[in-house]
């Protein structure tokens, strides 16, 4: 691979940058508590949460693990857990 002059590349580079690798904790959704209200989806700075079938789901490829969703969820339906922990 050769670097492009001036770092100019094709558009949509953020799709190729798998920011999920930066994460050391991952948000986990409690399906009992989640109502699919969409507040976490709105606040996620990386568009890594989508509401599907009435439930929040995390896009693990891009979620950086910032935890903003946990703070914003008024139903306490999201918890941060260490990456790769069995209990999740």
């Amino acid at each position: 691979m050769k670097l492009n002059l001036g770092g100019i590349t094709e558009a949509g580079r953020s799709l190729k940058n798998h920011t999920g690798t930066w994460r050391y904790k991952i948000p986990v959704i409690n399906k009992e508590k989640c109502t699919g209200c969409g507040v976490c989806e709105l606040f996620c700075p990386d568009s890594s949460i989508v509401i599907t079938g009435g439930l929040a789901s995390i896009d693990e490829t891009y979620c950086k693990g910032c935890g903003i969703c946990v703070r914003e969820c008024k139903l306490e339906a999201i918890k941060m857990q260490p990456e790769g922990e069995e209990s999740r």
Partner: protein, 401 residues
């Protein structure tokens, strides 16, 4: 030297700013992004006149700040458009963030920097602190001695900046007032000859909505050193281009002011002065007077400060006993900026004693008698082997401090 008569448009006594604006106008940059600041304003005012009168078809954009003016050039250059701006002093500092970005993104554009002191206190006179402060950006910087050299260098620098082996922003640094506002006899060249010489800018990338690109992407530590190295290497390659373009210009127009440096009586000289900008003209007068007294003195004028012509400097200074560097700028606590770099270039070379003077700050005049005094003092220090490590502030009025 015989000037190529066929390429002359006119020979007149005219103001430096107007001569530069006429020359840049002849190149018809696609985009001119401007914000006024003394002493640069006459250049962009005259370009505005050329656009308003329908003489040229450039898109002339008045920005809300120098930061925006430079950003307009970034966008225009990314779109493959030849672009131009001019500024001075605080205005250049406000452009700094954008200039680093342009160099890193390898977007060529040409700036006229009309040198002026930095605030505070506010001072609108010449020194080189403004442009020298941009030295680490990856920008090409050529310093000129007089109006004719300013005109000719503006033509040369578009070709250097837009060369596919270079692709960097570039700046012609011309002393405020002494070059921008003074009137001198100057030759302006035919538009066609100028355009033939500079050619057309073909960027490696283009902004095209059908094929979107990312500019200014994020890079981690695994590639960032390599990107920075590529800027360093491109600026290094510019040295050869500057030499080549100066030679081609001489052939096409018959006008020559040196390439990366200009030498004046350096052959066999015992004392060589190094300087940049209009002071070189004053030094030449002093040297003519000293040569008439059989004093072996010469001038090494640095035209290209970036890229820095270290090997040429070593070569020219190799036989000298004393080198005197006159700096119109300094890095606080460290000394004159040109002086520090000349010392670094000669490290472990067994070369001449190097005496660094900081002089001509904020428009303080330097006459031929001042130059002769600097030479005499330096030769004394050199002969006694008592050369100070630190740069000397010339004619510092201690009573005021």
């Amino acid at each position: 030297m015989s000037v190529n008569q066929g390429s002359i448009k006119c020979r007149e006594i005219m103001q430096g700013s107007i001569a530069v604006a006429e020359t840049v106008g002849a190149l018809e940059p696609g985009v001119i992004g401007v914000y006024p600041i003394t002493p640069q304003t006459h250049i962009v005012e005259h370009l505005a006149r050329l656009v308003a009168n329908g003489n040229i078809n450039s898109k002339y954009i008045n920005a809300d700040s120098e930061f925006s003016a430079a950003s307009i050039l970034y966008g225009a250059s990314a779109a493959g458009v030849r672009s131009y701006s001019a500024s001075s002093s605080q205005g250049l500092l406000l452009m700094t963030e954008v200039i680093f970005n342009m160099a890193g993104t390898r977007l060529p554009a040409v700036f006229s920097a009309v040198n002026r002191s930095l605030s505070p206190p506010i001072n609108i006179q010449v020194d080189h602190q403004d442009t020298m402060t941009l030295r680490d950006s990856g920008l090409i910087q050529l310093y000129v001695e007089n109006i004719q050299e300013a005109v000719d260098t503006h033509i040369q620098i578009f070709r250097i900046a837009e060369d596919l082996d270079v692709l960097l922003p570039a700046m012609v640094c011309m002393d405020g007032w002494i070059i921008s506002h003074a009137y001198e006899p100057v030759t302006l060249w035919q538009e066609e000859a100028i355009r033939d010489f500079t050619g057309v800018f073909f960027p490696p990338y283009e902004v095209n909505p059908q094929k979107p690109l990312t500019y200014g992407a994020l890079t981690d530590d695994d590639k960032i050193t390599e990107f920075k190295y590529m800027v360093d290497a491109a600026l290094g390659r510019a040295e050869e281009k500057i030499i080549q373009v100066a030679g081609d210009f001489k052939k096409a127009f018959g006008s020559y002011h040196g390439d990366v440096v200009e030498t004046y009586y350096t052959e066999g000289a015992e004392t060589i002065i190094l300087a940049m900008g209009s002071i070189a003209g004053t030094i030449k007068v002093a040297i003519d007077q000293l040569r008439a007294e059989n004093k072996k003195v010469g001038l090494l004028k640095i035209r290209s400060f970036r890229p820095f012509p270290a090997s040429r400097i070593r070569e020219v200074l190799s036989g000298a006993k004393t080198a005197v560097v006159i700096d119109r700028s300094f890095s606080a606590s460290s000394g004159g900026i040109l002086g520090s770099e000349v010392k670094a270039a000669l490290y472990q070379q067994n070369g001449p004693f190097i005496i660094n003077y900081i002089a001509g700050i904020g428009g303080r005049e330097l006459y031929p008698h001042n130059i002769k005094e600097i030479i005499t003092e330096s030769e004394k220090l050199s002969a006694a082997g008592t050369v100070p490590d630190k740069a000397l502030f010339y004619n510092l009025n201690s009573a005021l401090i």
